[in-house]
Amino acid sequence: MDNDSKETPEEVSASASPEWSRRQFLGGTVALGVVGAVALLGRSTVVDAARGIFGSPVRSGRVPLYAYDYYYVPNYMTWRVGDRMDIIFQNQSHTHWHEWTMGRHVNEQYFQAFGELSADAWRVDFWDGVPVTLSDPYKIDNFVPHDALVTYEGPRSLYNIQSGGDFSPTLKPGGSLHIAFTVPNKPGIWDFGCFVQEYVHYRTGMRGKVHILPA
């Protein structure tokens, strides 16, 4: 039936509604297809590039950090060595436990269906040797200090201190914790993430980056 239109050139003028352009249609559809493919497959590359170009403002002082299913808000921060930070870590999920860990080189053996995942995720834990003050604990599931130098305000029982794994406060749904520290002299890009439920949160995108500028 397409052929009719080709055989009768008068048809175009005979038709009542103004015809839209074929070139526009094809060009537009192809362009949308490209945008769609990039959005599906190259999203993180695009976001990284945009951050590289535009950067993000240096944060210091009181910074809220929210955990949702399964993402952090914000998932990218810029800090400066020597600044004082008051991270208010809050779990906004109604249903899920979340933690906040930070380090480099995640020990991410590919999941082979057989075998085990190691408990400490980062090969380098950012908090090693860092003095940290914790306060205002609310609905803490557990807290692992690892090699950080931690000062606890208030009764220690509220923190449910455990051992094993990286520095990691784990909050129940609705929980929150105040984490105060001075940015240590560890400049560069650091990754953070949540490894709850056998890495599933991390795998599904519960991760972020901190860019630490030298003093």
């Binding site: 039936m1 015809e19 537009g28 809220p64 999941f111």
Partner: protein
């Protein structure tokens, strides 16, 4: 005969450059999304102000779908006139552009559905190729995490089921052919149907782009409470499927109503073409079970979004499975019933022999439809007590009896007939063979003892690909070749048609028959990584499946070639007797120049074969007769 209804004289108007409707649809969809998303952000702000949240994406999606529908032409075609505003919209009756905009012509709508189904097939087929690439080795290669592989499986299954299997023969050939086959000059709900066709691309794109909101792991069933553990990608699964099932529902509403009220004079229920009977039966299945599954999916969506505890604390974990499969098994017959009907549409024509045991063929369709609601728990044998298993095992094995009627009618018709082995006939025979394999392996699965071993293995994957591809894909292709001369006025190449059909058949069987063996050897479903001893066989199956992919691609290339460039076809190349062959090819806007009358059975072939369809000569008659005042039915005898 081809008297194209000409469009009214052009209205004088400024020739303003107009956006192609599809592009405008995308633009309005984007606007709709942003507007509703922002409103939700204001009403229900999340701490830290993420722009896209679960609730905002859900309502934003609603805005996007409304924008999309309005943008592709519902704005001028329906919305403005509905509210009494002047609309200059005039539906074009020729040209390729009408396929890419809202239309009320059931033939255009049918082809829009077919095009969407084909697009969905190509997308989901490509994803299947990626799955097979992953399965070539026993550890993760092209997918980074197991969840990514599971998302791919889910998208593949969802698009294949809800936008290919449920669409090709219902929205596609149902819309295009059924009105013509019953001698009607239009359908009952042309506007609604025009809108619903555009829900299919919306649904496919929602599911395809669901990973933007995160991976999901439930497969095509959206299982709760697992889905509540998934990131927000699962929301776009539920929403996309809502669009697709709504579209299927509207198709059924339109088909059943059209067949009930718009049959030509003389088209009694007893004379109704088998394919139309198939549409009525499947229409009833859809009207009963689609609302059920939609309600379930809405509950699933709310469970994730609010969140509720429908399927955990206050409900039971099994309730979602039950609710899903009570639809899920009838779904198999939503796919298969129009296929059975088509076999018995094509076989009498190609054998030039009267349809054998026509009543039994119809009864088979109806009983399959009734029994299909009684077998759902055979998907849950691993979760049930023995006493509960037995009745479901029994009914499951019983359903092969009415299914057998379709085979009996088909084989009885071919018996001692002059069978012409054309491409459509060849594909129908292949389809019957493949579906038989699917059915026989299903009988094994219905056996509880065997089921407990084979559950969740590739045996099951082989079984349902044999039933689904065996039925809808082979018979769908047969329908394309059978009706190609009708829809395009052109003919395919009989050599290439057969060559490609045989290639497809060989590669299909070589791929999926080995799925049974893989399953018996212990290959599980839903795993991208597996024990090393299974690797050589998986590797080899993957290689063959790539050839299967090429065979499908070859079919599409050939069909498109034939549609555009094939030689002109004869008016009735198969010597068929159903009414669609008694009008021009392609049929004019109103299908027939005048209202036809059916004067004898459509399936009688032989020496004193009577004329089945008459077109009253007086054109005035047509002009005088109001279509909506048609006499209901015809002579009661026959």
């Amino acid at each position: 005969m081809a008297q194209v209804v000409s469009a009214p004289a052009p209205a004088p108007q400024a020739r303003r450059a107009q956006w192609p409707p599809v592009l405008r649809g995308f633009l309005w969809a984007a606007i709709g999304f942003v507007v509703l998303n922002t409103i939700v952000d204001i009403v229900d702000p999340f701490r830290g102000h993420p722009f896209v949240t679960g609730p905002s994406a859900t309502l934003g999606w609603v805005g996007a779908v409304v924008g999309w529908l309005l943008g592709v032409g519902v704005w001028e075609g329906v919305a403005l006139p509905l509210f009494g505003y002047p609309s200059r919209w005039i539906e074009p009756s020729t040209g390729w552009r009408r396929y890419f905009a809202y239309s009320t012509d059931h033939k255009v709508i049918g082809l829009q559905y077919l095009g969407s189904a084909m697009g969905g097939f190509l997308i989901a087929g490509l994803i299947a190729m990626f799955m097979r690439i992953e399965l070539m080795s026993d550890h993760l290669t092209i997918f980074h995490y197991p969840t990514n592989y599971l998302t791919a499986v889910g998208i593949h299954g969802t698009i294949m089921m809800f936008s290919v299997a449920n669409v090709a023969l219902l929205g596609g050939f149902g819309n295009y052919m059924v009105p013509i086959m019953i001698g009607a000059r239009g359908t009952a709900f042309p506007k609604l149907s025009g809108i619903s066709a555009w829900l299919v691309p919306a649904g496919i794109l929602s599911v395809l782009f669901s990973p933007l909101l995160g991976a999901w792991t439930t497969g095509w069933r959206g299982y709760q409470p697992l889905a509540s553990q998934d990131p927000n990608g699962i929301l776009f699964y539920y929403l996309g499927v809502a669009a697709l099932t709504t579209s299927t529902f509207i198709v059924a509403l339109n088909m059943v109503t059209t067949i009930m009220f718009r049959r030509a004079p003389g088209m009694t229920w007893g004379r109704l073409p088998l394919f139309a009977w198939g549409q009525v039966t499947v229409g009833l299945l859809v009207l009963i079970w689609i609302p059920e599954i939609q309600a379930t999916f809405v509950m699933g969506l709310l469970e994730k979004l609010v969140p509720f505890n429908f399927f955990t604390a206050t409900g039971s974990v099994l309730s979602y499975l039950e609710l899903f499969w009570i639809f899920g098994h009838p779904e198999v017959y939503i796919i298969a019933v129009p296929v059975f009907a088509l076999w018995n549409e094509i076989i009498p024509v190609m054998s030039q022999k009267s349809l054998f045991a026509r009543e039994w063929a119809v009864i088979g369709l109806v009983f399959v439809m009734l029994l299909s609601g009684l077998v759902w728990a055979h998907h849950l044998f691993t979760n049930m007590r023995n006493s509960e298993i037995l009745p479901f095992a029994f009914f499951t094995e019983m359903i092969s009896i009415p299914t057998g009627f379709a085979y009996m009618a088909a084989i009885g018709t071919m018996w001692k007939g002059r069978v012409r082995l054309t491409t459509p006939m060849l594909l129908v025979l292949m389809s019957m063979f493949n579906f038989l394999i699917g059915g026989l392996t299903g009988v094994f699965l219905a056996d509880p003892v065997v089921n407990l071993q084979l559950h969740d293995t590739f045996w099951v994957v082989g079984h349902f690909h044999y039933t689904v591809i065996g039925s809808i894909v082979f018979t769908g292709l047969a329908a394309v070749y059978y009706w190609l001369p009708k829809m395009s006025g052109r003919m395919y190449s009989e050599f290439w048609g057969k060559f490609l059909a045989i290639t497809l058949f060989i590669f299909f069987n070589a791929t999926f028959s080995q799925f049974f063996l893989l399953g018996l050897h212990g290959m599980n479903r839903w795993v991208p990584a597996y024990p090393a001893y299974l690797q050589p066989m998986n590797f080899e199956v993957s290689i063959i499946s790539f050839f299967l992919g090429l065979a499908f691609a070859g079919q599409f290339v050939h069909i498109i070639w034939a549609w555009v460039k094939g030689p002109k076809a004869a008016d009735n190349p198969w010597d068929a007797r159903t009414p669609e062959w008694f009008t021009a090819s392609p049929p004019p806007r109103e299908n027939f120049p005048v209202q036809p009358e059916i004067v004898s059975s459509l399936y009688i072939y032989g020496a004193q074969q009577p004329v089945a369809v008459q077109l009253p000569a007086e054109e005035e008659l047509a002009a005088a007769r109001d279509e909506s005042l048609e006499p209901e039915g015809g002579s009661p005898h026959e």
